[in-house]
Symmetry: C2
Subunit: 228 residues, 2 copies
DNA sequence: GGCCGTCTTGGAGCGGCGTTCCAGCCATGC
DNA sequence: GCATGGCTGGAACGCCGCTCCAAGACGGCC
């Protein structure tokens, strides 16, 4: 009993999965998705790769754990007994903001289907759909639509962050993109050209929310009792 | 004039970007996203890596070209002067089926934002929104919602394909997943548990289309003239 | 036909990655 | 105090993307 059970720390600065995941998140946040290597981890934790592999099976597990950690934090903040429609928007925005702050999560999230992080999101959204009065048969499809939309935006944001990494001025970059789009044959790409003009002044977060509202409106339309 | 201009083939079995992309697609289709290496390419094309790098800048460009090729084919098949709502569904299904046949595309598509492949999809969908009568201000948001949803599903399908790669029986795997989900604390994951029962009998393609219809319903609701 | 300059090729080699393996350290139970 | 086994640090392996370069192939010119 003196040692606080079997799993007491055997050494002061002992390694643990938690410490490793924490260090991985720090590296990912500071230097981007490509910078996480076991060599960088050993340097930061002042240890060897063998020690890390004792706690973590491989890089995929490490990335899954780091992703889960970020999503769990975001979902924990997004709780609240609000009205279900508002709760779904809050959860979605929470994930959006988490990915905005940790873009590498956007690239990892789609890679680990059926994992804990995805389940949390799915549960959070699906539960509110029930509260919203969506009939049981449609709930799976509706939750799937919302989650897939969120994952799509997540992936795009991660990709954008990768591109913007070297750029100081996001607006300048978007303007350059818009020009490139605008240059394309207007006859072949009329819509893209039209949208290019709006690229500069648009707000990713607002557009994300507009998409959520669009799907929610569709859900409301489909689950109205007079429907069918 | 005898040599058909500057860029005539200088050798019979000459290398070209087209041949390299074609070989890359064959490898990706046959052995999955992780199997495409320059060494595998050199073996299949019976050449050296230097020769390949003469035609292709790097692996990213090669993957972008391969992805663009698949998407271009899918978009070309999805043309047709149908009613706009139906046209959007056709385009979406075309992309879904293309990714179903070439799962690696689902992983690549979100990685290359603002590229030719994405532009094609965006243009195809955005143009039909115009025809649908969606007001100009909302068109960008609506197209973005549809495209992001498609990208989200694409990523999930790619991830699933990666998991299923070793599995012969998809249904058995899904049942195993469902069981794992069902085992989770019902108090904490009631929705997930409920959905787990439906996992076995659900059809990815139908669910994808249901999501498209959901968003289209939302677009219809938002762009009704009596709105606002 | 012979030569030359350019385009194209094949392969050796470099640095870095994820992962494995193992000799030894050290807190603990006897 | 000493054996035990959880835990550590680092060397080594095979594979990767990519660079570099000597040499081959070819069209144009005399």
């Amino acid at each position: 009993m003196a040692t606080k059970g079997q799993r007491g720390e055997r050494r002061a600065g002992a390694l643990s999965k938690e410490r490793i995941v924490e260090a991985a998140i720090e590296i990912l946040d500071a230097e981007g998705g490509g910078a996480l290597t076991f060599r960088a981890l050993t340097a930061r934790l002042e240890t060897g790769s063998g020690a890390i592999y004792w706690h973590v099976a491989n890089k995929d597990e490490l990335l899954a754990a780091a992703t889960g950690e970020i999503i769990d934090r975001a979902m924990a903040e997004a709780v609240g007994g609000a009205e279900p429609r508002e709760a779904i928007r809050t959860i979605a925005l929470g994930i959006f903001d988490a990915i905005d702050a940790h873009p590498w999560v956007g690239a990892q999230l789609p890679r680990e289907p059926w994992q804990a992080a995805m389940m949390r999101i799915f549960e959070g959204i699906g539960g509110r759909l029930q509260a919203l009065g969506v009939p049981e048969r449609a709930r799976f499809d509706c939750a799937s639509a919302l989650v897939n939309y969120i994952l799509g935006v997540a992936g795009q944001n991660a990709a954008n962050a990768r591109v913007f990494a070297g750029e100081v001025d996001r607006t300048a970059y978007l303007t350059a993109i818009a020009e490139r789009w605008a240059q394309h044959d207007p006859a072949q790409f009329p819509f893209v050209r039209q949208v290019a003009a709006q690229l500069g002044e648009h707000d990713d977060r607002e557009q994300f929310l507009a998409g959520i509202d669009l799907i929610l409106a569709g859900i409301a339309a489909v689950s109205r009792p007079d429907d069918k």
